[in-house]
């Protein structure tokens, strides 16, 4: 199975039937899960919900743009590549789509240690979209509908549970009947009150060429549900005609000679190694800085104070913040047959004629022509501290948010949230308890925990330095960390589960074989004369110990012990990495266990922290009230929490439990059934 390229081979064009489905053509009036939005978050959410078993409807303004790469034509990178591997380990789409659409593969950080390798690929936009669309259309239980959502339907708050709304469905713009659902996942990206900026021109919208989304949705979130929203900005560079660029003046940047696929299910990529396209590197000049400064007064976006990212800044803010330097500009292919180039690093919002002047200040682009000008986007995001770790809005049952609407940036961050929101939306619809993903086991967990427990004040992007357990959360072992969990949740296909089990068993066998090879240090020195083997505590060293040495490879050991080790040569790289990292991972194991325990201790969402009869300072009460941590673990990570406050909270939970137990005892008859039911639910919680 693993040797097959992808699960399905795809027809190249016209994957979606030209007849778009309208609301009247929707097969049912009730779904388990409705996903609004067809970007990276929406597609992963819809596919994941359907995989878990929910009847799912994906609503998007234009079916044609499902799976579109609105900004850069690339996937992965350092930190982001980790997310792609994890999404793939949970059987998400983007890893396999990347393998299908990639036209330039490279592993970043190859020389810096496997924990921070960054698998990355330049993509063919069209192929990527095709793959995603084909995949969605062939997913059972998933329907796609073209339309604009006018209204989110929610119940009035339940008087017994103040502030608690429940989502009941959506209403489309064309005034048709409402479509009801147990869960709704909003993945509206930059379309929530989005405005586009080019020079002095400001127009409503979330992406150029697409209609703005209705204001109804934004209104429901803010006014009906009372959610706090903030404003962020982002931007995209102009697209340049390839023929008009003098690439001989830029530095050629070739791909890896052997493309490494993103997906654990693929052993090769669709693009043959020799078919890959190169990227080019060039630099800004003082002329670029001059044009930026001269045109500042024409640049509306840059004068606004919505917060943009510090790590993907427009050329304007780069030049203004770090003047007098040359900045990198990558010229990236847009596709196998595309005649456009994507100038990464030149996102800008000045008037189109100035954009042309600016790029022509760069030697390689001195007579370049712009196909589409760059523009800026400002959009609303919902402060993500209002979400639970399942990405459900805390005060609205059944409403899930994922992607840029939560204040993140990047395809991979969006896809990761989409997948997890999709899984949980489906679980909610089926009355299953929420599934959690810890920051100790995945970057997806780090992402979600950072969002819901700390919030954002600039677009959030993944960095490996955000993961405190970076040495265990590696791209190579994402399957070992997550696939089994995904399988328990039902979001992993049987093919992937079988492949995972095979790999896991084979790795275990290989490790056992390595451990069984024990020799004295002197014995090893004799066998491997070039290696300075040190003494050991108990007198012997195993093959696993030897593999930790910098200059020892699995292949070397296999050549010495062909009988025992050559069957495992398929996993030589993974075994080497595991051997080097295991001692470090073992060191942090206790810390990991502690965090996981704290994360398993939930705090009720409706606690009134101000009246809680516990000794807590006013300051701590305010912090707890503001962030409403979902678990004790999240509470301990809040800035300003004191050790004493955590112990007091723990005590409170304990005392409350005692009271509950006594109450249960007093009306044991009715309560028993529910108690058992709960136990059953808890038992089904994935570990």
């Amino acid at each position: 199975m693993s040797r097959m390229l992808t699960r399905k081979l795809l027809p190249v064009r016209n994957i979606l039937p030209p007849v778009t489905k309208r609301a009247s053509h929707v097969h049912r009036q009730r779904y388990d899960v409705i996903v609004v939005g067809g970007g990276h978050a929406g597609t992963e959410a819809a596919a994941a919900a359907a995989r878990v078993g929910a009847e799912t409807l994906l609503v998007t303004q234009k079916t044609h743009t499902i799976g579109a790469l609105s900004c850069n034509p690339s996937l992965g990178g350092v930190g982001k590549g980790h997310l792609v591997r994890e999404i793939d380990a949970l059987d998400g789409l983007c890893g396999r789509a990347g393998d299908w659409a990639g036209i330039h593969f490279s592993i970043l950080n190859r020389r810096k240690g496997p924990a921070v390798w960054g698998p990355r690929a330049q993509l063919d936009r069209q192929r990527y979209r095709e793959f995603i669309q084909a995949e969605l259309l062939s997913t059972p239980r998933l329907e796609v509908l073209e339309g604009s959502v006018e209204e989110l339907l929610v119940t009035d708050p339940n008087p017994e549970e103040p502030g608690r709304h429940r989502v009941t469905g959506i209403r489309l713009a064309n005034g048709s009947r409402p479509i009801s659902a147990s869960s709704v996942v909003l993945t509206t990206g930059t379309f929530l009150s989005g405005s586009l900026f080019v020079g002095h021109t400001v127009s409503p919208g979330g992406r150029i060429g697409d209609a703005p989304s209705s204001t109804g949705l934004s209104q429901t979130l803010r006014e009906r549900l009372g959610l706090r929203v903030g404003r962020l900005r982002t931007g995209t560079p102009p697209r340049v005609l390839k023929d008009s660029v003098d690439l001989s003046l830029a530095k050629l940047h070739p791909p890896d000679s052997h493309p490494t696929p993103f997906s654990f299910m693929n052993t090769r990529t669709r693009c043959k190694p020799e078919e890959q396209l190169p990227c080019y590197l060039t630099y800004t000049t003082p002329g670029v800085e001059r044009v930026v400064r001269e045109s500042l007064h024409l640049n509306c976006h840059i004068q606004q104070d919505a917060k943009g990212p510090r790590y993907c800044p427009s050329i304007e803010s780069r030049v203004l913040r770090f003047p007098g330097r040359r900045h990198q500009v990558w010229l990236e292919p847009e596709g196998m047959t595309s005649d456009l180039l994507y100038p990464q690093g030149l996102s800008m919002t000045m008037p189109p004629d100035v954009q042309l002047r600016l790029i022509r200040e760069i030697p390689a682009m001195h007579r370049a022509e712009i196909h589409t000008p760059g523009y800026g986007v400002q959009y609303d995001y919902v402060c993500p501290t209002q979400l639970s770790p399942a990405l459900q809005v805390k005060n609205t049952q059944g409403l899930f948010l994922a992607g840029q609407i939560n204040g993140t940036t990047g395809y991979e961050e969006a896809a990761a949230q989409g997948l997890w929101a999709g899984v949980n939306a489906a679980r909610w619809a089926r009355s299953l308890p929420p599934a959690g993903l810890s920051r100790t086991e995945s970057y997806i967990g780090v992402l979600i925990d950072d969002l819901v427990s700390r919030g954002v004040n600039e677009p959030y992007r993944m960095f490996t330095s955000r993961a405190e357990f970076r040495t265990s959360l590696r791209p190579d072992n994402a399957d070992l960390r997550l696939t089994q969990k995904g399988s328990l949740l039902g979001c992993v296909s049987s093919a992937r589960r079988d492949e995972f089990l095979r790999v896991k068993l084979r790795l275990q066998d290989a490790e056992a074989a390595l451990r069984a090879l024990t020799l004295s240090p002197a014995g090893w020195r004799k066998m491997m004369p070039g290696i300075s083997v040190s003494e050991s505590k108990n007198g012997t060293l195993s093959g696993m110990d030897l593999l930790q040495y910098k200059d020892v490879s699995f292949e070397m050991l296999a050549s010495l012990f062909p009988e025992q080790l050559s069957p495992h040569i398929e996993f030589s790289e993974r075994l080497k990495i595991e051997a080097v990292y295991k001692p470090h991972c073992d060191l942090s194991k206790r810390e990991v266990e502690r965090i996981q325990k704290e994360e398993n201790m939930s705090l009720p969402q409706d606690l009134d922290y101000f009246s809680l009869p516990v000794s807590l300072s006013k300051e701590v009460r305010e912090i707890l009230d503001r962030f409403r941590p979902s678990t004790l673990g999240a509470a301990t990570r809040l800035e300003g929490m004191t050790p004493a406050a955590v112990v007091n909270l723990l005590n409170y939970v304990q005392i409350a439990e005692r009271k509950e137990r006594m109450m249960n005892r007093s009306n044991a008859g009715q309560q028993e059934g529910r108690g058992e039911d709960l136990c059953a639910r808890n038992a089904s919680l994935p570990q």
Binding site: G77, V78, G79, L108, K112, G113, A115, V116, R166, R310, C312, P313, R318, F322, R325, Q328, W330, G345, G398, P433, F463, T464, S465, R470, T471, K550, H584, R590, E591, E593, R594, K597, E598, M601, S602, P604, Q605, D606, S615, S617, L632, T636, R637, M641, T642, P643, A644, A645, V646, V647, N648, L650, Q654, A656, E660, N664, D677, L678, C679, N682
Partner: protein, 514 residues
């Protein structure tokens, strides 16, 4: 849809399950002074002086954790046979490295689970002199796997082992609060000197090292971060390692901190603070005059109150003054109050309204302005001294003395006259009993403990920096992990460093374009 109450039921059950487990979920999070930390393992063996200080005949040092027996083996010479459980044994206690005899004392061995913490525990009962205590604590700190206990750690371990009953558990939060506060005050005293500046400087440099390595990892390949960045980190790490190791070898240990209960006299100008100091030390240590703002700097004297060491400081009167010297005096006064174990708030009783209720209100407000700390003054951390009672009519004196005693929110009130020594005897009795209670708390006023803890953290820090070099060329992720661990170790002294802080440095120092 799950009913909320049902969800809660499940939550509580889950919480209880965790509470009941033997492996405590909370210890490590809670064990740092600043409240947030990572990486202190329960597997660590901890030690601490668990008796008071001052003039005491016997000091008790407690050790708890899996390596407790190691202490018996390498410091008491019980290599082969552990002593019978819970039996006192008279032995020589030696330094594990130099083999020098540190003291001769009683040794007790409590195997798990029959001990206070439920873990393997050892107690040394040694002579009470500060030199002996310091030597034993430092010797323990040099045993691998051992580190000084953090605030409340013994009690927390007992809690998690189910050794405390419910009423004790309910007081645990307050206990931990008190202990963290005591440690915070200790740390403040240490950090305000040269040593503090040194640690802060290291922390700052380590942060930059980490930020630059992280920038190189997260951005270098497609950004404009030159290789030179790592070379600079190399130099920095090398320097830091050398400085920290040198510091650890340096026997002088920086400035010597005086031990004893830190008592600070504070209040408005002309309340009679310096007079109180002079009265207490029975000599004119501070200049006294009727001019407001006479005392400008901190005047410090060491006293013996009822056999307990006390470090008494007189401070400048608190008021807004245009005088630069006096402003500095007031700043120092406020700093002292923050670091104090006990504050004597002196008030001129003649300015109080004659009606008791109103007087109480004035005093409460005044206390707030003197103590300035955001939280309520802890019980026993403050005494209110109403001076100049000789100038009050007899009836008002009586009224105040009786009326203020029961007022809630007020600390113990003493009416005295430094002029006539009236009420002084009663005041001394109150002061002595307060100091005595404080001395029973092993954490207040023992700088050696703080020093031993700092030492242990610095050793961790130096060891972690060695990991940087071990992996510098082969695996930058593991090398960075070394710097990160070093910063965690140092962060236990100077305050935790979060991921965001590192990212802030990265974005300040580099232009990240992608």
């Amino acid at each position: 849809m799950l009913p909320v109450s049902a969800v809660c039921g499940g939550i509580y059950r889950a919480a209880i399950r965790t509470l009941r487990t033997r492996n405590p979920p909370l210890c490590r999070r809670l064990s740092s002074g600043d409240g947030v930390l990572a990486g202190l393992a329960d597997a660590d063996t901890i030690f601490a002086l668990s008796s008071g200080h001052g003039r005491c005949g016997v000091a008790v040092v407690r050790i708890s954790g899996p390596a407790a027996t190691t202490a018996l083996r390498c410091m008491v010479g019980l290599r082969k046979h552990l002593p019978p459980p819970r039996t006192a044994l008279l032995r020589s206690i030696t330094d594990p490295h130099s083999k020098e005899v540190l003291d001769r004392g009683l040794v007790l061995w409590f195997p798990a689970p029959h001990s206070f913490t439920g873990e393997d525990s050892v107690e040394f009962h040694i002579h009470g002199g500060p030199a002996v205590i310091t030597a034993v604590l430092q010797a323990l700190g040099s045993v691998p796997g051992m580190r000084p206990a953090e605030a409340g750690e013994f009690t927390r371990r007992a809690f998690h082992a189910g050794k405390l009953d419910l009423t004790e558990v309910e007081g645990l939060g307050d206990l931990i609060h008190a202990e963290t506060e005591a440690q915070r005050r200790q740390a403040l005293r240490q950090m305000s000197g040269d040593l503090g500046r040194l640690y802060q400087d290291w922390s700052h440099r380590l942060k930059r090292c980490l930020a630059h390595v992280e920038a190189f990892i997260d951005f270098s390949e497609d950004e404009l971060i030159e290789d030179g960045v790592l070379d600079r980190v190399d130099i920095s790490v090398c320097d830091l390692q050398a400085e920290i190791n040198q510091h650890l070898k340096d026997e002088r240990r920086g400035e010597r901190l005086r031990s004893g209960v830190h008592v600070v006299i504070a209040g408005a100008t002309n309340a009679g603070k310096s007079s109180l100091l002079n009265t207490l030390c029975q000599r004119p240590a501070a200049i006294v005059s009727p001019i407001a703002g006479t005392t400008r700097d901190v005047v410090e004297t060491a006293l013996d109150i009822g056999g307990f060491p006390v470090l008494l400081s007189d401070t400048a009167g608190l008021r807004d003054s245009p005088d630069l010297v006096e402003q500095e005096g007031v700043r120092r006064a406020r700093e002292r109050v923050q670091q104090a174990d006990l504050t004597l708030v002196v008030v001129d009783s003649t300015i109080l309204p004659s009606e008791v209720q109103r007087a109480a209100a004035v005093l409460l407000k005044h206390l707030e302005s003197v103590l300035t700390s955001q939280e309520q003054p802890e019980a026993g951390r403050c005494l209110l001294v109403l001076n100049k009672t000789d100038l009050l009519p007899e009836a008002q004196r009586e009224q105040l003395s009786l009326g203020l005693r029961g007022t809630s929110g007020l600390p113990p009130v003493c009416l005295i006259s430094c002029q006539t020594s009236e009420g002084l005897k009663d005041f001394l009795t109150v002061l002595q009993s307060t100091v005595q209670t404080m001395c029973a708390d092993p954490l207040s006023g023992a700088p050696t403990l703080t020093q031993a803890r700092h030492r242990a953290h610095l050793q961790q820090c130096a060891a972690a920096l060695a990991q940087y070099w071990r992996y510098r060329d082969s695996d930058l992720a593991l090398a960075a992990e070394g710097v990160r661990l070093a910063l965690t170790g140092l962060g236990r002294i100077t305050g935790r460093v979060g991921a965001e802080e590192i990212l802030d440095i990265i974005f300040k120092d580099f232009c990240i374009g992608k």
